[in-house]
């Protein structure tokens, strides 16, 4: 039911069942929030969203209170503003005043609110937190001194990702966020997905930044700096520069990377294409030999770590193949270097990824060969934006350029790796060709698209049915695996991406407050798939070339030598 309420002496429309906050926001009235996360139920913990409701003695938290027909609300009365200001001042009492040196300077919600509420002096004495910085993890930094205890990280990890490594521990003065037994992150069951970073309003949780180091190597004459970027960077980087979400910057991305100083620019989408061919081959061989199924994708390092912790008995289901990031790195150092007569040790490969877990992946022991890492440094989309700004480049003034040969072409199937369901879609296109030597009539597999946590599609190829599933976040996985293993479902392949909706929503992506941005990022990828003509990995000419010159065929001894990955059980507190 729709009814009218009065807000700040004006009538607005509200709906039965919605919260005061939702009615206000829909009507363009801005009330600040801190602990509230749009996708999740409100907890009412921080009280920054309070408003005055006539007739109620206490201020009410608008994020958690349902709106009612009789309400007369004041969102910015002196009493409300004073209450909010005091709350912020209290938070600042425990906060280090080092905004100028803070990685989240300029995008910090606390800083923003202090400005908005006109906080101009320290009203409460500063009790600096004695807690120590946790830098043990290769992907995340945990800086408890900056934590304002909003609980958003805890809830993202619990409710969005489904891993639950964090909680509020103790109470009163000693309350903090922590892992079980307050283990450092590297010894915890954190899968380094970075969704808690997306949730954190301050720099308490952040990525381990590496872009400053990249800037340094770019100017060392002895080094040959190469950059490779994930399929989703081109559709999300624009947001960091105030451009509307969903704009594809592929050509600009290439030129900006060269401007920064990288000698060669490669698109990891190429390696995704290679992986599709290898995956199709692995799957067909497992089916033919009656080996253990379903085959499960292993491109997402967050998911891989999850499996190593929670599903040690099922690790043989994971495709024993490296991820596109590592395949690309390997091809650069083993093939490209050779071709160009460069010593692999002189090449430094920087990866630009939407993902914090890729930092962890690049440092896994098995990802280096004879001491040479396949990928030397991983920076996130956000860090790339910082690097661009550091170099004072105006992306609006650049012409579009191409990526470098010999990896200069890509299919749109590889591009689909950025969205949940995309690996399945790419795989189906190539499988169809492998089985029939004909292209699939309708390459668009809409059933596997979209943001649902679990999607399934069944495809009939020459009279035989093949089942595929895509899950994003790990919540739906255990039950799906049960259903398949107990014979209830005929599914031969599962794609898993740890982040909701896939890599477009990775922990390293531009921080965004709402679901609409992700929709637009996904749409940009699907638009590319609609527009371009090379829609299947096996039709990528540069991939064809690579197989002719180096790999021979999918699953060849050369492929295995280069691309085999290994997974091992990890013992952590679950």
């Amino acid at each position: 039911m729709i009814f009218t309420i009065e807000v700040n002496n004006k009538q607005i429309k509200a709906k039965t069942g919605e919260t005061i906050l939702s009615a206000l926001r829909r009507n363009g009235i801005d009330v600040p929030t801190l602990c509230y996360l749009p996708e999740l139920d409100a907890t009412g913990a921080c009280r920054i969203c309070v408003v005055e409701v006539e007739g109620k003695p206490q201020l009410v938290t608008s994020c958690s209170q349902p709106v009612e027909e009789w309400m007369k609300i004041f969102t910015h009365s002196p009493r409300v503003i004073q209450a909010r200001k005091t709350l912020i001042e209290l938070l600042l009492a425990n906060h280090p005043d080092d905004c100028l040196y803070c990685p989240c300077n300029g995008r910090c919600e606390l800083q923003h609110l202090a400005g908005e509420l006109n906080v101009r002096e320290r009203r409460f004495p500063n009790k600096k937190s004695p807690a120590r910085l946790d830098q043990t993890c290769s992907a995340l930094v945990w800086d408890p001194a900056k934590c304002i205890l909003c609980g958003r990280c805890v809830r993202s990890c619990d409710e969005i990702i489904g891993v639950s490594i964090l909680d509020l521990i103790r109470r009163g003065e000693k309350i903090s966020i922590g892992t079980t037994f307050e283990k450092p992150l590297n010894l915890s069951n954190c899968i380094t997905c970075g969704q808690c970073i997306q949730a954190c309003p301050t720099a308490a949780l952040r990525e381990k930044e590496a872009f400053a180091g990249v800037q340094e190597i770019l100017h060392k004459p002895s080094i040959f700096p190469v950059v490779q970027y994930s399929p989703v960077i081109s559709v999300s980087l624009a947001e960091e520069f105030g451009i509307k979400p969903g704009k594809d910057l592929q050509g600009i991305l290439n030129s900006v990377l060269r401007k920064i100083g990288f000698k060669k620019v490669f698109d990891i989408t190429f390696a995704a294409d290679v992986l599709v061919l290898e995956l199709a081959d692995t799957l067909l061989k497992r089916i033919a030999l009656g080996e253990k199924l379903p085959l499960i994708s292993s491109c997402c390092p967050g998911w891989v770590k999850y499996a190593e912790q929670y599903l040690p008995g099922n690790l043989d289901l994971l495709a024993p193949l490296k991820s596109p990031q590592q395949i690309m790195g390997k091809l650069i150092k083993r093939y490209y270097a050779d071709m160009q007569g460069i010593t692999p040790e002189d090449i430094v490969v920087t990866s630009v990824m939407p993902c914090t877990a890729k930092k962890f992946e690049a440092q896994r022991e098995e990802m280096s060969l004879q001491g040479t890492a396949e990928v030397d440094t991983v920076i996130t989309t956000r860090e790339l934006a910082k690097l661009i700004r550091l170099n004072g480049i105006d992306i609006n003034q650049l012409d579009e350029e191409m990526t470098d040969s010999p990896f200069a072409s890509r299919s749109t199937a590889g591009k689909l790796f950025g969205v949940s369901g995309g690996i399945v879609e790419a795989l189906i296109r190539t499988l169809h060709f492998r089985l029939t030597m004909k292209e699939i009539a309708n390459p668009k597999i809409t059933k596997i698209r979209g943001f649902k946590e679990k999607k399934e599609v069944y495809i009939n190829i020459e009279g035989k049915e093949y089942g595929f599933a895509a899950v994003s976040t790990v919540k739906a996985l255990p039950s799906l695996l049960d259903e398949i293993q107990s014979g209830k479902k005929n599914i031969q392949f599962i794609e898993v991406m740890a982040c909701p909706g896939g890599c477009i929503n990775g922990g390293g992506q531009p921080i965004q407050g709402n679901g609409e941005t992700s929709q637009l990022r996904a749409k940009a990828i699907y638009d590319i798939d609609d527009k371009e003509s090379i829609k299947a990995s096996h039709k990528n000419p540069a991939v064809f070339d690579l197989y002719q010159k180096l790999l021979q065929e999918p699953g060849s001894p050369m492929s295995s030598a280069l691309f085999t990955a290994v997974f091992n059980k990890r013992t952590v507190l679950l």
Binding site: S164, I169, R170, F181, L573, L574
Partner: protein, 158 residues
């Protein structure tokens, strides 16, 4: 975890239903009763039994002062914070004690010698402030008598 500990925890579980979250606190109390503290292995086992992530168990358990996550020290010191002791400045005493031992509440000193916790009235208000060490009461404590006491324990441990 050794076999006997494993079995003992299993027998604690027998009193409760699998996957019943309400059983968390009683189970933790039983484990603490049995071992004096709650180990990592125990938390992991409880997590599996009740289908609760260990982070949530740790979060709940640290909310209450009653749970310990390390074995108690050789000398376990309890400082009373009951009303009478409080009036006799047991808070000050606690502060001094924890400074002297370099541990705070629910902690164990590095050498494993001392651990510290607080409690409500120990029923000896007449001679407040009161502390107990391994169950023995020491009354009308001052920080000086406390230090003497500690030194005598250290001697004894040599």
């Amino acid at each position: 975890m050794n076999q006997s500990m494993d079995n003992e925890i299993d027998s604690i579980f027998q009193k409760h239903q699998r996957n019943q979250r309400e059983a968390l606190i009683p189970i933790l109390q039983d484990i603490q009763e049995q071992y004096g503290y709650i180990s990592e292995e125990a938390v992991q086992k409880v997590g599996l039994f009740l289908a609760i992530p260990t982070s949530k168990i740790y979060g709940v358990a640290t909310f209450y002062d009653q749970f310990h996550f390390q074995p108690k020290g050789k000398f376990h010191i309890t400082v009373c914070r009951g009303t009478t002791c409080h009036l006799e400045e047991s808070d000050n005493l606690l502060e001094e004690v924890s400074k002297y031992l370099k541990i705070s509440q629910s902690e164990v000193s590095r050498d494993g010698m001392f651990s510290l916790e607080t409690t409500t009235c120990m029923g000896a208000c007449g001679r407040a402030p009161v502390i107990s060490v391994n169950g023995n009461y020491y009354e009308q404590m001052t920080i000086d008598t406390f230090k003497e006491l500690i030194e005598s324990f250290k001697q004894r441990a040599l």
